[in-house]
């Protein structure tokens, strides 16, 4: 987030989640937050708050913004099914290396997240709320809590988390908070059955929680004033790579990606491809940028999903084969190291991609067949979804960069030899 700021853009006040064009360092203070979004929104909840909020979430088909896109209403139902008093865990870990939106949101609009946490906590009758994020994001939240002066109806605790990729996975986060082990757990109970303090625990991504605050404060109709009929509202995206002003932007769901690229000053170089969603996303050809709409429906047409909201532009001066090999190498390294197929499979796949990118490996068909076999053997065989997400992204790289793998197999590189992987330094 340490990027140059376009002076004209800051004045354009179009955001719901973020007051300024981009998430900048200054946090919105409580009085200004109340002017924009009104009084504490949990006062607006109906007499049967869980059912009311479930209905409201269903009315706008609110989905999780952490990557999986799970319906919020279903999670609310799951956690209130038990008679035990639940906990609320706000997940601001953001392990995705190319995403900065949750930390930007917690920094720029802490009260929106805290309001949303209170709406959820009151609705499910939570004993307490834990907001978990990387240590460097905590000071701003501490200041925001001090501003609120203990007026919240449910107690809030802050917790620092590790920065590891998998640490943001729901079971890994609960594992870390309960036992200081940031690795996923495969066995039941799931967090909604037994999580923090051994209570049923609702885990929601930080942006999702802020969306709940908007929904409670402005109602379903107000929420629907942005976005598309099928996917209402706004969302946060993190732009990186070959773009003039990288950073976090708020966009209407369903708006053209070309539009937010223009707001970000456009590409700095001719573009070869875009990594949509993030490390658990999909590479799309640059041609997609002209028509791509940022929504489940729009991305789905390209076999992609919004994931954690990452839009990473790959310049055509970069070698996409090396870039993909580098990404696979990082994914293999970030495995929590617990499940055999994930550990050995991702390592083998990454080594295979590095061999292909270094070229010439000889029989490309045989190498690709081997890679596809390994990917089949990894998919669905981890304790969490890490191997699945990794393999999906790698598969898209094999598909979209087919010409490059072929060129490498005969000793050439479409992008020119010696091109460095852009993901190494182009992230944030």
């Amino acid at each position: 987030m340490t990027v140059a700021c376009p002076p004209a853009a800051v004045a354009r006040d179009r955001g719901r989640l973020l007051a300024t064009e981009r998430a900048l360092a200054a946090a919105m203070r409580l009085p200004e937050h109340r002017r924009r979004h009104g009084g504490p929104p949990w006062h607006e909840l109906p007499a049967a708050p869980a059912a009311g909020l479930i209905q409201l979430a269903d009315a706008v088909d609110l989905r999780g913004r952490g990557g999986a896109g799970f319906p919020v209403a279903r999670k609310l139902e799951a956690v209130t099914r038990s008679r035990a008093t639940p906990m609320l865990l706000v997940n601001g870990v953001e392990g995705e290396p190319l995403s900065a939106k949750d930390r930007a949101l917690l920094t720029a609009a802490p009260h929106l997240v805290l309001d949303g946490a209170m709406v959820l906590a009151v609705a499910i009758g939570a004993a307490a709320v834990v907001v978990a994020t990387q240590a460097r994001t905590l000071p701003g939240l501490e200041r925001a809590l001090a501003e609120r002066g203990g007026q919240d109806p449910v107690p809030i605790r802050l917790a620092a988390t590790p920065q590891a990729f998998v640490a943001g996975e729901e079971t890994a986060l609960v594992h870390w908070l309960m036992a200081r082990d940031p690795r996923p757990t495969a066995r039941p109970p799931r967090p909604f059955e037994r999580g923090l303090d051994n209570r049923p625990t609702l885990v929601q991504n930080a942006e999702t929680v802020a969306q709940v605050a908007l929904l409670a404060a402005h109602g379903a109709a107000g929420y629907r004033s942005a976005g598309t009929p099928g996917e209402p509202g706004s969302t946060l995206v993190t732009l990186s790579g070959a773009v003039r002003w990288p950073g976090v932007y708020e966009i209407e769901v369903g708006s053209p990606v070309a539009q937010v690229l223009a707001r970000a000053g456009g590409p700095t170089q001719p573009i070869r491809a875009v990594l949509a969603g993030g490390y658990f996303g999909a590479y799309l050809p640059a041609a997609a940028l002209d028509r791509l709409l940022w929504s489940r429906a729009g991305l789905g047409q390209w076999g992609a999903n919004s994931g954690a909201g990452v839009i990473h532009l790959l310049a055509s001066s970069r070698c996409p084969a090396r870039d993909a090999a580098h990404l696979a190498t990082i994914l293999a390294r970030e495995s929590a190291g617990q499940c055999g197929p994930c550990v050995h499979g991702l390592a083998a796949i990454a080594a295979g991609l590095r061999r292909l990118a270094a070229g010439p490996p000889g029989a490309l068909d045989r190498e690709l067949a081997q890679l596809h076999l390994w990917m089949d053997e990894v998919r669905g065989r981890g304790g969490c979804r890490f191997p699945d997400g990794s393999v999906a992204t790698i598969a898209s790289a094999l598909r979209v960069f087919a010409d490059d793998w072929e060129a490498h197999a005969v000793g050439g590189c479409v992008a020119g030899a010696g091109a460095a992987a852009s993901l190494a330094g182009g992230g944030r």
Binding site: A68, F70, A78, N205
Partner: protein, 75 residues
């Protein structure tokens, strides 16, 4: 309906199950068990129980009844 379930975190790929139930469990490229997704047929239930009992990591179990439905991760 009885299904074989593997805890992939507990499994360390020693492979005793592969020998005891080759009809439903095959090794991947690294020697870790790939479990057949279909329910275990009645004729194989006894062999499946032996494979479960043999696992030194207690990573394998038999599950009957309705499968649990759970939200997978935070979103």
């Amino acid at each position: 309906m009885i299904r074989l379930r593997l805890d992939p975190i507990a499994c360390d790929g020693r492979g005793l199950c592969l020998e005891l139930l080759p009809e439903r469990i095959r090794p991947d490229s690294w020697g870790y068990p790939i479990i057949h997704p279909e329910p275990v047929p009645a004729a194989l239930v006894a062999a499946a129980r032996r494979a479960v009992a043999a696992c030194p990591q207690l990573a394998l179990r038999l599950e009957g009844g309705a499968p649990a439905v759970a939200p997978a991760r935070s979103g």
